[in-house]
Symmetry: C4
Subunit: 505 residues, 4 copies
């Protein structure tokens, strides 16, 4: 704890070669955004483990640092005495790009990217993003908990809901607009909160802000954004509506400061995440991390730290696992923003939420990233609404659903079942990662086009006409698997074929 | 808008080289069936977009033009002043067949086509057609809405219906004939309306007319045929029955003219399409269009027009999305033909149709080309009939079903459940595209052979004996998906195998 | 009709080269088992079509002829004047084995056949047989009706039945014996009737007779055996029990003769097939036939005969499709053998069978070879028994089930549900085709071994202890298919993987 | 029986070359752990067949012998006169490693094994073990009965159970500890009994003892361990709890001795296996055995012995198939250890067990290794508990479940449904086989990590809070298979694709 870095005169930038000497466990500097920092001590308590820091000891770590850390991280967490000042970047040796063959292949794939107009639906963006994103970024966005059963069920559940469309209804003019927590929007979806936007695009979440503006939909600002909260708010225009997603800090003073600041900056809704007392294990993400440092794994010797926890867990240690129903009155006391609970997963808790006086819930399983085998939001919605209607409570709160929405038909299904609107997360991240703002723009436009058509085809000209008689949900709550395959029997079956071509001459 | 083409003396044919000069955005001629047209202005409002026209600027566009446009299109939509007169085709330079490798491969596949006798069922024609049809034609015929879930469900639903056959019934003589809207037919199916027949075969829909004649079944004439309505009617022989499928025009005068003309020409039924206020997005079709013009995509620059909408949407802009139940009395007033609503999809609308006084409905989802996740016609039928029987209304209208019929057992299932007959579309298109009239003939004959046998095996000698006790539909209305696959678990399972061969010596 | 063959002196064998001259459509001889026959006229009415005869015109057709035709065919169907007498076989030119590459490969596969001891279950024999049988023989045995859904469902249905085994029961001694129509057998299965045994093994059905003898189980003799009925009866030993399967001839006198003869020869049961008024279309079989004559297909010119109907339909034209319940009293009057109806498929017909006074039924769909989407016998059994028990009729007849039995657990399931025994067909054919009698022997022994063990494990020491509480059939009657696959969604999912190996050095 | 081996002077070790002479059927010695044995007579009654012994005639058989035979086998089963004394191992010719190519490949795979830290869940160990274990060992561990349907259903059943998690519960501190038969443990699972541990690791079951100690969980000692019972007990430390799994010997005196010895050595529970009156047929194991001696198969001539029964059946001939409920009072009389029945599979038998006075049951199907189509333990649990609760009997016994547990969520599901704890077998064997004790350690730690997190996410801080309202089991008891695949229909479907990359330049 008493290692003293040599101080450089303030008036003079640090020399890269000098920095490069501090490249080991007992003397470790890194360069970030052109400034040097002494992290010799800090690295021991780095939430992401010290290995990842040592990898950059004496070097410029900006590119890796950026997406994971909001801009004010160093000021918050590293004492000022360790801020060593600016570095003359001309003197910093650039990594002799000992080119990663994976990265070279990725660059090749980027060159052959389909043009934006070839994307016809939200799945298309994911297909492109998978090919062009950095492996670790892809792993962070695309991973889910455990076996990723819930993550996949989220969309799959929509495939169990079928339509009972009406015909011969005048559907010349279609009005997709609706009102969410008092804000008028053009189409009943919102951009839900997702972390670490800069992993996919160097500009980060502000791109989503601009996309949401263009299509007049609401953006929910994530606590774990790569951009700072203020950057994202600054990016909004006019009366654009933003909400705040909140991970509650163990230190309630910090939480209070965040909430009050958000209200002051004009946020129109506070969504408290309740399904993440601990951020989930996402093995795909962990595995991706591992191979990222795979080359020097054998050198780590007796190191017992589990370096392979992925990005999410490192950045979430502040979240309070003791958050409980008892905290709700306090939240109601510190803000006038409508409060909603994000991550409710059973009817008993929806009722309790109403009794607790909040204005809404999001039926969500956190995109399948927390508890595997949690049911899809849409299934929970189908369980919740009949109970509320029986009590006459269906209008006492607004109910949102997120997870797995990929088609306008998914949105329509949720609204038929009683949701006010749906949240969409990953698809916009993928669109942003692959094509930037034009990608987000097109993704939203495709949803509008799909929804206008499908409203016509289901026989409704306004969203308030959507109702439960328009859907057939009999298969929704059945979690069937089939009996394990008859391996031998299937293996010996000689399958039917269609006519064969003549042999080539 | 005031660009004036140079006029050639009427007495003299245009020279190809002269036409070829008008090959750009501001001066654009095309040749169709030996005549030149100035489409400089028209191209801006071309429903299919101007790019596709520019591709043929100064050239002979006949081959691409033909299947999409009924013969009277130019007279209807291009003012006479733009009709430039005949071209001396000897002077037109033929496209230096810079042979498309896809097309060359297709020609190879055509050479190796199985002979007709190798087709043993309706699926076989589709298998052959997929290999020998032009890619864009295949895409237009084979595509469905969104994820093509409904399109596939249509046939799949029949696989949920099982038989409870009777034995020891005298089935020596089988009579498949029945009566549909007063017309006696040999077997209870009809050729339903499908658009753009010339995409599959240069002669178009008249081939289906001839096939229907040979097997004494009814043909439903499509509004969007490649042949003109009169060509198709002219192709019928003797007392052959035809029906008319109608897309209702925003201009009811046009619609009235079409209906009155059809009645005058002897059509015996008017099927008003009610499931298509807007023609569906079919992404396979859109994607196929895109790659068709892929080579010069980068030149299109700032062009914002979405060229990739596929054939269907371009030709359907006239359809009236405001069509509603209020229009039905008017239709009843303008014709004596029986009126049926094609595309009804829930029991409430069947009841309303009966109350509205029409003579029948077709339970249909438009071959899965409109609203994805619409239920199959056969499933809706199983929902509808018990309700009608409860009211004693089962004989007040004729109920037809289309979508997914591929086997005689499918027909039998529909009749057991209460349908008068079924409509079959794509399979005959595929038979026609692969083998022309002989293909259609064989396809129909195969259905007859299958049906005669299966009537015997189910224990019925006449179609009126078919009844609900002969089928087990318990699984029909269950839209199950299985839980997302246990990827890790399945991946590590070491499957059982059968005995291995000895190693080769 | 007045073509006169040159007669050879009776005392002198015909010369092969002389026979070879009669090799065309208007003059056509063939050699079978060393004798020549003039089939010039007969070929026009040959049930299998004349093409297959012309292929052998002037040549020795024995090998192809044998499996399809019972030994007395020529005497029955070809008038004596066309029997030309013996041929000096030394003078017959053997086909310059213009070796079929498929056949050469098959011979190779035969050399590498697994030894018999490598077969551990009935599926294994099928796996081997598929590799070593002639293609056409395999196609005949393995094919089913239409899409072969019922054929596969037959075994698949057993996979929907699960056990509720008892523990702590003394199962030291297991007794598998039972009584079927008064005959004591060692294990409750019988060899059911299957046609054309010589396709799989040159000795034909007598191999099954010997196998059945060794294991003291009953053989049901098929009407369409390759061996004659008497050959099969002659092959039995001691008090071995045989039953007769009967296709009823349009000419009841023939049927009567067959029944009386069977009774005289000691058959202990008459199983009248009631599910085959017409033998099914089996497309795999038809397709196999087609390619068999593929090489000269183009020469057939205007020939309109559909040559590709497969073996079954050719040999079955005598079957009476008018057979009905009215015929049952007559059958009861002509024999004292117990009469059973084979192919009953719904509870209503089981009740009618009891009322008609027969001694039993076989719940069967003909191995999935007749009506596709007929339900499995085991499913029908589960429907039938509760109805019979409600009426107290469960002991008025014996109920058998066939189709899809491959494991002793399948037998146990059927007995738990109320069957007296099960019929097994194809598995023994495959065992016989691959390994002859030792194969049949081992197949039966494996079933005994499996059954003894599984009786222990379910907690029953005698077959009469098997009862419905030992099985869970809740899933049995559900004919579910899943929603069509989410093609795009599944295609973009990045599946979880297990740890990867290090790269090779 | 009167063949007399030449005796060597006791004072002098046997010479390897001398031993090597006794290498045939009529004179057969083998070397095991440095001593020679005359097995000429014994081999005829060797439970595993004599072939496997003859393979090692005159040679050192230790490596093959060890995992299958507990250390005291030779003393127990081979009379002393056949123990020939020590061999001078320097004189024994080592097998000129005519290296098995499979083994060489396996050695290669071992070199490329992932490091332990790359295993993130229990499936990962299985994936690695499959690649690095000897083929026969893998086959023995991984195989199940018949079609392995039950074996796979065991885990698959957990995938039909979904969570209904609570939110906003204080889950800061998670306590996973519970009490099993009076012993306090850190987490509610135990290491269940599995046979032949040395097949996977030369040290055998004591590795599991050490792993269990480290994580304070209970180990159930198997009757068929590779280590002797005392070796396993000796390996425990402090107050570590062990239970005994018991196969009941036909000779009850032996059984009594075993039970009394176990009690004396401190075992805290006696688990009598009741689902294995005969050890199951496991075809994967049998098949693996076969090919193991495949090279000299053709030499075996008329040998009729079925050599291919796999390891399990050979070693289990002593198990008493007559064991029944009548034996329970006797067991209660000979020990004070709690007695539990392992392998109960239906509610009727649970009730009977309570009435018989035992302290618990394990709902188990023996890892799917006995009766195929036995239901999963977790499904039986869901059937059992409501019946017990109705009677108020739910606390009269402890109920355990084993089979298919791979995730902490599986453990939580079982506890929600009423189990005291779950048994886990194969996963620890695989971890041990791949990585030894560190593997077992990490596997257990992973379960703890998973469970702590998932307790938080389901909203419970202690295991006693787990209850049935937290799970949705509606799909659990449905044994659905889907209708056999629509082979032709699926084969001709042209699947949707996502945007294609541009061609490479």
């Amino acid at each position: 704890m008493n290692h003293e870095p040599e101080k450089q005169p303030k008036s003079q930038k640090l020399d890269g070669q000098e920095v490069a000497k501090h490249n080991n466990d007992s003397d470790c500097w890194v360069i970030i955004h052109g400034k040097a920092y002494d992290v010799t001590e800090f690295k021991e308590e780095h939430p992401g483990g010290k290995q990842i820091i040592l990898k950059w000891a004496g070097k410029d770590a900006t590119e890796t640092y950026d997406p994971i850390h909001p801009p004010d991280t160093l000021d918050k967490f590293l004492e000022q005495s360790k801020h060593l000042g600016e570095v003359n970047m001309d003197t910093v040796q650039q990594d002799e790009a000992q080119e990663d063959p994976d990265e070279l292949e990725r660059q090749e794939r980027i060159k052959r990217m389909p043009i934006l107009e070839q994307c016809y639906n939200l799945m298309d963006f994911e297909a492109v993003a998978r090919r062009v994103m950095k492996k670790t970024a892809w792993a962070y966005y695309s991973s889910g908990a455990d076996d990723e059963i819930t993550m996949r069920e989220n969309h799959s559940a929509y495939h169990k809901i079928w339509f009972r469309p009406r015909v011969l209804v005048d559907v010349e003019k279609i009005d997709l607009s609706t009102t969410m927590l008092g804000s008028k929007v053009d189409i009943p979806f919102y951009v839900t909160a997702t972390a670490l936007g800069k992993l996919g695009n160097p500009e980060g979440e502000v791109i989503l802000t601009r996309g949401a503006r263009k299509h007049n939909v609401i953006q929910m600002i994530p606590t774990l954004a790569s951009c700072s909260f203020d950057e994202i708010v600054d990016a909004k225009q006019g009366d654009q509506t933003q909400w705040l997603q909140l991970y509650v800090n163990k230190d309630r003073a910090i939480t209070k400061r965040i909430v009050e600041h958000a209200e002051k900056r004009g946020c129109k809704g506070l969504f408290i995440t309740v399904d993440a007392p601990q951020l989930g294990r996402r093995e795909k993400d962990m595995r991706s991390k591992f191979s990222d440092v795979g080359s020097n794994v054998q050198d780590t010797g007796g190191d017992n730290v589990d370096r392979s926890q992925g990005a999410a867990r490192a950045i979430s240690s502040f979240i309070d696992p003791a958050l409980s129903w008892k905290d709700i009155p306090w939240f109601l006391s510190i803000t006038k923003m409508p409060i909603l609970l994000k991550g409710v997963q059973r009817v008993e808790d929806v009722i309790r939420a109403i009794e607790a006086g909040v204005q809404g819930v999001v039926l969500s399983n956190h995109g399948g990233r927390q508890l595997d085998f949690a049911r899809s939001g849409i299934e929970v919605l189908a369980e919740v609404m009949p109970v509320l209607r029986e009590r006459g409570w269906e209008n006492r709160i607004e109910i949102y659903v997120d997870g797995g929405v990929r088609r306008a038909t998914d949105i329509i299904k949720a609204l038929c079942l009683g949701a006010t609107a749906v949240g969409i997360g990953r698809p916009f991240l993928y669109a942003m990662s692959a094509y930037g703002l034009p990608g987000v723009d097109r993704a939203m436009q495709l949803l509008k086009d799909e929804m206008e058509m499908n409203m016509r085809l289901i026989g409704c000209s306004k969203v308030e006409q959507l109702n439960p008689t328009l859907v057939d949900t009999r298969g929704l709550s059945l979690h069937s698997t089939t009996v394990p395959a008859d391996t031998l029997g299937l293996g010996i079956y000689d399958p039917l074929v269609t006519p064969q071509e003549k042999a080539r001459l």
